[in-house]
């Protein structure tokens, strides 16, 4: 039986402008260079199937024309090399789903996965591949889980996963997901929408490869079955300063371990410079560092005796962020609150809010509960 050569890439975020609050930088050229490099490697390596695990476009509600132009151009280039599978993520523009449905109905060479139903595709050299998709859930999925089935979102998603685990396989089986694996939450950057966290034991163990998206840093989650986040193509923010960036090339062999190679997209470096006191010497150091540095720079300081910190933004080209170091205690508090919140669903969050903000909030909560109860009855 033939082996299966996969190229897995994710989290392109086309159309992103970084550091909007301080110095907006359009990342288009950097992203295009990274994608050109991936296309080049795919041609060299004679890929059988492309896997793209979500967040192709950064702006969910209103992407610019150039983002749409670029996403279509690169998909076109990939389809010329081999069939392409696209799973949608939390960032992805809703229009992409509509267009994906149209495209999937026209061609079997570009498949958009937007539901939890398994899809069979034929890779370049005729290999039969069963795709097990786990896209980012839509708002309607929450409502379905909560109101119609009286389930928590977690148990709803677990049921979905259980169904995928029961699916038989073709020659090959590839699971594609857009979520955070439990235990990797600290590596999730600030994202749109609710965080979805999945236990790795729930992933279908018969998969030949598990392709994940959402986390921006490259990470081999486990070897058995091989489970990888390729991460984003460029360093999108300073939390990703130390990340290597790129795609992965995976060869799945029957009767042997899969082989995995990284494709480095060689993005611009990011660098945070820390200063206790932003004095004249520090400012000189910054200027000298920035002169030779090809990427973008963030300055973090504790004291600013000259009151000139923000002037660095306008006078040094690659300084894109200047911030006073936040107190440690504040940071801890935020993460604790976030943990608290992540356990609640939308209705529970609303109830918490009402409880804290409104006198007589109990009445509102009772009305909400009655309404939910009624809807549930109506639908069953």
């Amino acid at each position: 039986m033939k082996d299966l050569r996969l190229l897995h890439t994710s989290d392109w975020h086309l159309g992103i402008t970084s550091w909007n609050g301080t110095k907006p930088v359009d990342r288009r050229n950097e992203l295009k260079k990274a994608l050109d490099r991936i296309i080049e490697e795919a041609e060299k390596k004679d890929v059988d199937l492309f896997l793209i695990t979500g967040d192709l476009i950064h702006n969910r509600s209103n992407p610019g024309f150039l983002a749409i132009h670029d996403v279509t151009e690169y998909l076109k280039k990939m389809v010329k090399i081999a069939p392409v599978v696209v799973l949608l993520g939390n960032h992805d523009w809703r229009g992409l789903k509509a267009l994906g449905n149209l495209i999937s109905s026209l061609s079997s060479d570009l498949v958009f996965l937007s539901s939890y139903e398994p899809v069979d595709v034929v890779a370049k050299r005729g290999q039969k591949v069963r795709l097990l998709p786990f896209p980012y859930p839509e708002e309607s999925d929450y409502l379905e889980a909560k109101v119609l089935k009286g389930k928590s979102l977690d148990s709803y998603l677990e049921t979905r996963l259980a169904k995928l685990r029961e699916v038989g396989k073709e020659e090959f089986a590839v699971f594609l997901g857009h979520f955070t694996i439990e235990g990797l939450e600290p590596y999730t950057s600030n994202e749109l929408g609710r965080e979805i966290t999945i236990k790795r034991t729930l992933l279908p163990s018969f998969s030949d490869y598990i392709a994940l998206g959402h986390l921006h840093s490259f990470r081999i989650v486990q070897e058995q079955p091989l489970t990888i986040y390729p991460g984003s193509l460029i360093r999108l923010d300073f939390g990703e300063e130390k990340d290597e960036k790129g795609a992965v090339f995976v060869t799945v062999r029957k009767g042997g371990e899969p082989i995995c190679n990284r494709i480095d997209t060689q993005p611009l470096p990011l660098k945070t410079l820390f200063f206790k006191t932003l004095d004249t010497l520090a400012r000189k150091e910054i200027r000298e560092f920035c002169e030779d540095f090809p990427g973008y720079v963030r300055i973090v300081y504790e004291e600013d005796p000259l009151k000139l910190a923000h002037e660095l933004l306008s006078t040094v080209e690659n300084v894109v962020k200047v911030e006073k170091k936040a107190e440690r205690i504040l940071q801890t508090d935020t993460s604790e609150i976030r943990e608290e919140i992540s356990k609640l669903d939308y209705f529970e969050l609303f109830k918490e809010y009402v409880k804290n903000e409104h006198k007589g909030g109990e009445d509102i909560i009772r009305i909400l509960d009655d309404l939910l109860e009624e809807v549930k009855k109506d639908e069953t």
Copy 2:
């Protein structure tokens, strides 16, 4: 040789909200009903090829998700019946061109025409059809004509048409255009962008059918070759009150005249009520009329002694516009100005503006002329 059964529809304007200034009405349901009717007829009549001549989406710069969803859904339904050809218009969202390029590269059953190059397609029963496309020109076409080739836009477009007239034909030849035929300017509604007007003698006379879009009212332009504007699907504004609306079903027969039948989309009626004086009696008449009227109503009056004209908008559901009759002289002036403007191109318009608004404008005009001259030299 087999005959060729064409279904030609145009100017859908999906996503349009009418009467934004006075009472916004989302026309989605009406448009969907019209499109459902067309799909139904296409199935009954066993169509060989769909022709769509532009303005599928109303909002050029930022269409809503539902407009994109609907356009993809209806294209999907059509492709299930027969191959579909889409020519882009002046309203169409630029993203549609990018997506069209991707889709055309994936499937020969849904062809987007966005350049002036002839394209050969195979219709449902294997008939070979050469398409001669004349889409609405982009801004870059103006610049190319003016700056690089030193031509007026008109002569640039005439050259394009001359090239299409020289193309040989396949079994069948169909010309598709999105513009106004000279002599029909009064039937052009207020539209986005510059008006393109083409002499009918410039159309390729060997065409078996000439499918036009842009005008919103149904119109058989000429019989030889058969040239038709099917018009929009619904009555988009009060200028279209008396229009029949729908699509056309054309059977092209070798060795015989083509046969043309209209498909009526039966849209809601629009009605303008005129009143010299908007007195109590007139207001009563309006209410009585509106009660039984299934469509939308505009009130035009000369005098409003009760000062209650605009109250009709909030108290009568289907009154969507209330306006005082404009003076005749004002209307004439506007159309004269428009005629004046339509003879100028962008650079000339800018020069006119500078001449009238700025003292010392001659300097600016001279600089502009020098720059244009320089660019021309650079490129040749």
